[in-house]
Symmetry: C3
Subunit: 265 residues, 3 copies
């Protein structure tokens, strides 16, 4: 059997046994399958963060990887569960917009609604479909079950509310979408959005704070200074060298970020 | 060799290297063995929580799984270490009541006292038997060592102080035993305790708070409202839709919960 | 192929996807390779803590293990990345002193500077060499690449500023170097430093606190009492039975610890 690899992204935390329950279900169906945690510390019910974290990492995983993402405030309602193939990877998640940012960045091959009850756990709870539906489906897919077997193809699905920055010839208006462990503030302004412009002449303004120029690494400024750079996930990021930009600036998620720039000649 | 699977449940946290030391010992003895973390964020020395978390998840693991649980305030005293077979799984833990809730719910085949020193690490510390005794024993058992080889069978062991709810014909008096990551408050009142009663007529009282009826999922109430339901581990749970019941109610572990109900006709 | 085992030690935390990105890179190059987390909760940019945590655990891992450690405040500067062979293990880390404590305790066979760009990710960012350089190099080494292939041998490297205790005939002056999850305070005074002395006559003084004698386990004192013992990593440790010495004493890292003792006769 080929190498079987499943990743998990949830808001379950690591204190309780929810994640371990999902792993037990997967390993009961697909013994020896390799399971990698992307993150289980997504803020409770923060669908957009889950999508952002997952999207920033899938490009580093091999083709054939199965990604299970469970941030599911609508569990127990009529919302569907989906199995999506994009760029040779399979994604299992609630149809609540979580995969929105991935639909933007990846190429969709097929979207199936999960509805083959023979794959589910015998007793499906109404509060934990990650364990009772997504985990066993992931285990069966890892064992080689064709995607078609999980349910019928759908063409309507929740595309999420991924907010694109507004781009004009000499300015981009975006927002802070994520704050990482180091206190770096990530925006929705991508490397591509910025690439036709001169990094030296960029000026980033957010609130009363202005930062001039786009650095290439933290060490381009003195310790404690703020800087802007393209972060490792490919987005404009506001950082503080050997410090936390988030602690210093205290900007909430959603804060507007305006980039003014000149095209490089 | 069959698929070898070991789970770990501890109060060691994930900051230090204690868990990683145990994994190194296991993998030195049983290379390639799969190790799954149940939780390492059990509150320091909270034996009852460890038992509760482990018990809620073992049913999802395949037969033959070896579960190592280390919450061990008595390390260095005369308390024994046990290897217990229940329902085709093996459990390694201190004899301090940690496994009490599992003894209640599972069928015991054999309980051995771990005493075969040839299986231990060469230098056994007096402060870390998880690494020096339980981890190597787990590795050897994963390699196929028969359970009898770890030590002699015992009939006396610490059954823990698992508190059962008090059940009368039209009321159940239990208590809150666990607070999960989402702030859901779990009680010791099981689905079975409640099953002969009419969920619509149930009234749950704890402190001055009364909640009427038993919901099937969070979405049965409006956002922010409290509800009662049978949680995914099979116990009565007090929750708040898209919020934290624990933050709202601030009930400590041990708070009494009284369920009054009418038998369904 | 032999059992392939890679450990990771970082200050990336488990909320973001940085660790998962490294794992994806490793598994793309070396499918099925086993990856064990030592700790990802090293304090941001605390190089010494990373070295201490890693050093306390490598002795429990089998020969051939590859240890990747990334606490890298100098990422993007000219600091080198090293691949070091010690006692049959391979270590990949920035040349910033992180491995200093390991150089002290292990036997160095070879130190190579990582410079074979054909092993790197196609686009090397200037902010995340853990993912773009160390992870792929680890994957290739796990697949059997000889150490020589990563780059040329070097003889100059950063030995770190590991502080040795000052030892006189009847006293040792060291310091607190680490505070663990349980609030135990670990010093840089090793079991070896103390071994020619009589544990009963030891007196440990730090600030205004004096602790007499060296215990063998927590249970040698009453609940709530302070004690000194040799911790499971082999260093003198100040602990409180069933409590947190750190919370009680509030000594910062670096606090001086003086041990006065008499040689055993």
């Amino acid at each position: 059997m080929a190498s079987r690899l499943i990743t998990l992204t949830t808001d379950f935390g690591l204190v309780d046994s929810y994640v371990a329950a999902m792993k037990g279900v997967i390993l009961s169906i697909s013994p020896g399958c390799q399971i990698i945690d992307i993150s289980h510390d997504i803020e409770p019910q923060n669908i957009q963060q889950a999508g952002f974290v997952l999207a920033s990492v899938v490009g580093y995983y091999p083709e054939g990887t199965i990604h299970v993402a469970v941030v599911d405030p609508g569990v127990g309602t009529a919302r569907a569960l989906l199995a999506v193939e994009m760029d040779g990877h399979i994604y299992l998640a609630p149809d609540n917009g979580l995969l929105g940012v991935l639909y933007e960045k990846r190429s969709i091959s097929k979207i199936c609604k999960i509805e083959n009850k023979s794959l589910y756990m015998p007793d499906v709870s109404r509060t934990f479909h990650g364990r009772d539906i997504l985990a066993p489906v992931a285990g069966h897919l890892a064992n080689g079950l064709p995607l078609d077997e999980v349910g019928s193809e759908v063409t309507k699905y929740n595309k999420g509310d991924f907010v694109h920055p507004i781009i004009s010839p000499d300015a981009i208006r975006g927002s802070i979408v994520y704050r990482d462990h180091f206190g770096n503030l990530m925006t929705n302004i991508s490397k591509n959005d910025l690439e036709s412009f001169d990094p030296v002449l960029v000026e980033v303004q957010t609130g009363y704070t202005k930062i001039k120029g786009l650095c290439q690494s933290y060490s381009d400024v003195e310790k404690g200074e703020l800087l802007c750079l393209i972060g490792s996930a490919g987005y404009l990021e506001i950082a503080q060298r050997e410090g936390s930009a988030s602690d210093k600036l205290r900007f909430p998620i959603g804060t507007e970020v305006e980039v003014t720039l000149k095209a490089s000649s």
